[in-house]
Symmetry: D3
Subunit: 282 residues, 6 copies
């Protein structure tokens, strides 16, 4: 019989109605002035996902046990970041309105802002757990308010002090590090103190955002902004699991894979495993 071939992230072929989690791609990298390429990530991740197994020997769970709907990629007008964020916010809001969890695959980190806007509207007590090599706390970058380098500052505009928890940070300018001291919780260089953050959050809803460049470039070269001195896959995997196991993650994203710089495919494969492990633990 002639059937259309599958093209979702592996095993995420549930229909929208029965899905618990709704995955979608946000292939935008329009504010990146240096090395673009994250726009290609969602498609690359879907393609590569058939190279990993649906079964996790870490959690002894299988993607076939849960229901995920992969919507495919959103379509964006490059050159207009505000319009892009609006599309993401609307999509996320609609998913949240169905009492499902949005799982966004970036794209550059700015895309998180659209989803955070939607989540903060539904969950005013929202906290953000943020894994990243960079602070992303500039107020402006090259004269622009909306940028991959300002995204966490814009989230702070919405949520206010003491609601953003950053881990693995090892790059930024001096004023960002200064500003951080009185406005966010920042754990430099590694992922220690994750339990401390979860204690502070104490059951409030969590938006978890994973900038994959938090990983060491040896394990994750596929990024436009490689920062030596990062964390390992094992460290990240364990930290993500701790956050997810609270049961309070209401939305999530994984971003900043740039397949352009992933000649071996190892970074894309790693991103697939991170997504699988999060999906299985949510």
């Amino acid at each position: 019989m002639l059937n259309k071939a599958r093209q979702d992230f592996i095993s995420c072929d549930s229909d929208l109605q029965s899905a618990q989690i709704v995955l979608f791609g946000a292939p935008f990298d329009g504010t990146v002035s240096y090395r673009p390429g994250t726009r290609f990530a969602p498609k690359a991740i879907r393609g590569e996902s058939f190279g990993i197994e649906t079964y996790s020997p870490y959690q002894d769970k299988d993607l076939s046990d849960i229901k995920v709907c992969d919507l495919g990629d959103l379509e964006f007008p490059f050159g207009n970041p505000e319009a892009v964020l609006k599309i993401i916010e609307d999509t996320s809001a609609e998913i949240l309105g169905l009492n499902k969890k949005p799982f966004m695959v970036g794209g550059e980190h700015l895309v998180s802002l659209g989803a955070v806007r939607a989540a903060a509207k539904k969950f005013p007590e929202l906290n953000i757990i943020h894994f990243d090599a960079h602070t992303d706390l500039r107020d402006e970058y090259l004269g622009q308010k909306l940028s991959h380098a300002t995204v966490m500052r814009r989230c702070h505009d919405i949520l206010g002090d003491a609601r953003i928890f950053q881990f693995g940070i090892r790059s930024g300018d001096r004023p960002e590090f200064e500003w951080a001291k009185s406005h966010v919780f920042m754990n430099k260089f590694n992922l220690n103190n994750i339990e401390h953050a979860l204690d502070k959050i104490a059951g409030a809803p969590i938006y978890m955002t994973v900038d994959l460049d938090v990983l060491d470039p040896s394990e994750f070269p596929g990024t436009g902004t490689p920062e030596a001195g990062g964390v390992s896959f094992e460290e990240l995997r364990r930290a993500l699991l701790k956050v997810a196991e609270t049961g309070n993650v209401v939305a999530c994203d994984v971003n900043e894979l740039s397949p352009t710089y992933d000649q071996s495919g190892a970074s894309t494969a790693l991103a697939c495993k991170i997504i699988r492990e999060i999906l299985l633990s949510l």
Copy 2:
């Protein structure tokens, strides 16, 4: 509204029932001993197809005017060429049984044999128009009967003498060239004499198979077997149009793109345009 994103070859989003042409991918390169990679072609072609226009200024026609259904890719057991050919033959036969035209995107050239088997069963008077740099007329290759290097010889097993018309041939071993003299029509080095061939065929059904390495490697580097001294896009485009305009093409394939060797994407884009031009002229 939350809708699944499109993933077909551009504008080939008709449903099966209303389609005139049914496109499918045959991502197999399992008999290639030297430089594999054509298995990646159908997916690459779909992705790149959104970089070309649906409108052809050559023919002043638009893909939106016709109905094509893209089935996606067939799934194959590598290491078992006979099983692969069976899957292709069954798919092609089913499409032909619906009185639609199969349009296969390879894959290595051996995949043509599966579709030719199906077409020859329905159309016993079938002729083959074959564009290629290579004769593909060996009887065996490394001890195997089924190989990209033997595919036209296997087609001859089915159709017999004077039914295969080859164009652009510029590589093969000496016995192949000798054998060709008494069994097929071979036009070496260029695409001259295409009208002569069409006269001979005289209205009988045609299977058109395009090994893209018939093109000069300057215009089409994306192949595992680049052969200097080939024809140009313009020459091929015109020849394909002449064949298609007879109205007798009952099935067709385009094969041997190897995205692995297409760093610039120019070969994949060219393949997309060739497919568009054929689709619009069938």
Copy 3:
């Protein structure tokens, strides 16, 4: 003696005051939704320029005989095309104000709009000679007015009918080709009729814009939008010379090289030679 090493385009080391031509880079590709990379072109072109000679055996002239000042690259806020165009317009206007010729190296084709705005202000009778594979005549693209796909339409907004002369066009959507018939002069597929255009222009000032994808991808694979069936280096070189020899070119740009897709460096080297030939003939 300790001196700073040279970093300009080869032999373009004149100071601003004594220069006849002022070259600058416009490394912007922010409206490109598909395959970015032209942002890297100006730096790549400067680096590669030391691989070509300053002497042209075609014109029997040498770059050391003329005075060109290379300003380096402008710095842009990605994600804000209007701000980018303003920077380009101001730079071009300042150069024109010194009675020198701006020579811009893109970047995506949208950058031309900034320089055309400046040139049209100083020369209200301005005409555009446009070499390109694409019409670039859409009124909107993905909902945006400012895009590489709309740039010539925006120029038409400024200059009006019968002032834009297009050559080598072979891709666009159907409405663009329709619209072109009554608003611009379009020579499809090749560079014929260039004298005809120059006759029509009859001594009025000319802005010459070269989208390098007018070349066949075999000779110029280094572009995000390869279109088979293009013109050769020799054809382009001769056409450019004809335009330049009128003595009426008041500003000029060369754009759309994407070093990302130029693995061999041949496209970048070709761009350098095109720039050398134009500089020597202006």
Copy 4:
């Protein structure tokens, strides 16, 4: 004097008769449906071997102290895995018949089956020490019995329960992990318990097979199946040494390098060092 230049793996230029170890390449990857490329490994390894030293500071030994004959690469009919395995089995049997040790360089992991067949015939008490990221214990893969994903299951068909010892395993489907519990010894995620395995084997002959993807992709990106969370070069080097020092290894292979995904050459160089260290310790 005019002499032929050397082309063996560095310093493995002994003639067959005097060699203790006989190295040969098995450039086959014909059952790989996803990302081929291991067929290029043996040639790449030979070429790169001249970039490492013959002296090991780890063992304070030098390749010039031992006698190895490099036979070059076997020639295979792609598309016929059974015929390929027959060629490997015959070659291995002939080497074993001369009371020398076969050292095979793959190729995909399926090639191990040919050598294991030969070794098990000569040494009925054979045990396998297996380093890998994947279980390779499926009974069928895409309907086929012979596949890189089934190779250890096929070895189990020959050797039976409790004769296969697996290390570093971190990927497979759920049934494979279930099946493993009662049929093989599996050490997940790391190389611990290697002494435990050697104790169990207790002096019986050992076939050692190294799928290099057991390494973390950060150190070994050059593979078609990168699995994050692997072991380090140092860990693997020490484990291999422990096995070799038992003096019971009768045959050995190193496989699954895919030079296609090794842009930097670091994976190929690492494979060379692993081969050197094993050769020196056998």
Copy 5:
């Protein structure tokens, strides 16, 4: 039976004594200051040679009909060009002393000087037929007398005026073009007038040197110095045949392939065909 696998250029497996032609690699690019890589050419050419046929449909001849011995690659001390040239001269002299024809595969163009020294010693009436994009006539380059950019000037030091015939030249500095007028025969831009040159030479011995960058970079991107506006494979093939058919070629080289810039392998494959066609016509 256990035999060493073949590693010569395809079908060039004759022993030295019975060979008519002796092929060897000269993997040197030590004077190239810009983009190195030709050192990798001889090995790449041998590997790729198994992808072409031994039979030429152009000449209806087969490599199996002639006797060629491939010596492999010479080993060079990088950083000492004079020592490198000495090794090449000695090797060439030894081959010539056996009344065989040396066929050198470069490497950068400077390697020709070593072989020309040997040939001019045996054949004082030697002429050079030189295919190239560049004049190579500088007297010094960066203060050095021995360089890829001075090689033809050094040959002129040996042979004197009117003995060097250059074809396809399209790049050099102004003084080189001036100097050429009174010392060599130079045919700019194309391969016209080859018969004229052969008439002048009138049966004297010929050294034929082919710098592959004479080809257009569209057909031959694999070079460190791509020069747009070159000749086609067909044009070069015909010109080489004319020279070879004089029967007066006593030595020959093919150089300047840089596999580093040949992502698709098309340039290496073309080089193989050029070598095959020359071997068959000598």
Copy 6:
């Protein structure tokens, strides 16, 4: 206002007179017989430097607090290593004569010899701290005295016994390791005992040379000689800081980055951070 754009290493835009440190590129790799490419490092490092921050969260210092002058790249005659070393020695001597610190960015490791010659002339008590995977202690390599493989032996010719301290060494031939025992201090495999070395040096002037291949290829694949089993960025960063904090480093170099093998750019970015950290600590 029309200003020239910046092209120095980020924030190293001081004029020569006021600078404390003078940085320059030494883009030479002419003695490398195997895989060239380090000639491209200085330019790549400058370009990539704009992707890192000027602020170091490790040291809480910023490049804007110090004065560094980037001279750009020296220009070298390839094929003449002695002339190259003379240029480097003269440049270094001139900088030292101004009582400033030379900071050289290679290039292959041989370039260190030029700077060491200058430093040893001014500081006869000079010691060398040498980070590297390789001993570089051969007396000759392929018959040459001047080579990347002999550079530390040549330094020993100048400084004598017990003045060179090597760290991270894990490759060399047996005689080198033997010779080292009585002539230099060698710490194999890791960076332990750095304090021990600094104690021995006891305040004497230090030349610090960093061959980046001391790093593990997982973190630093961008080198022509990847050696598995290396140290981490963190380990190297800490060791460099210890040396710099003595206040006795009078000159320094960082070498052996080969951008050719750094597809992701992660190695180049790491090199930039290493340079930033050293600059901030000198």
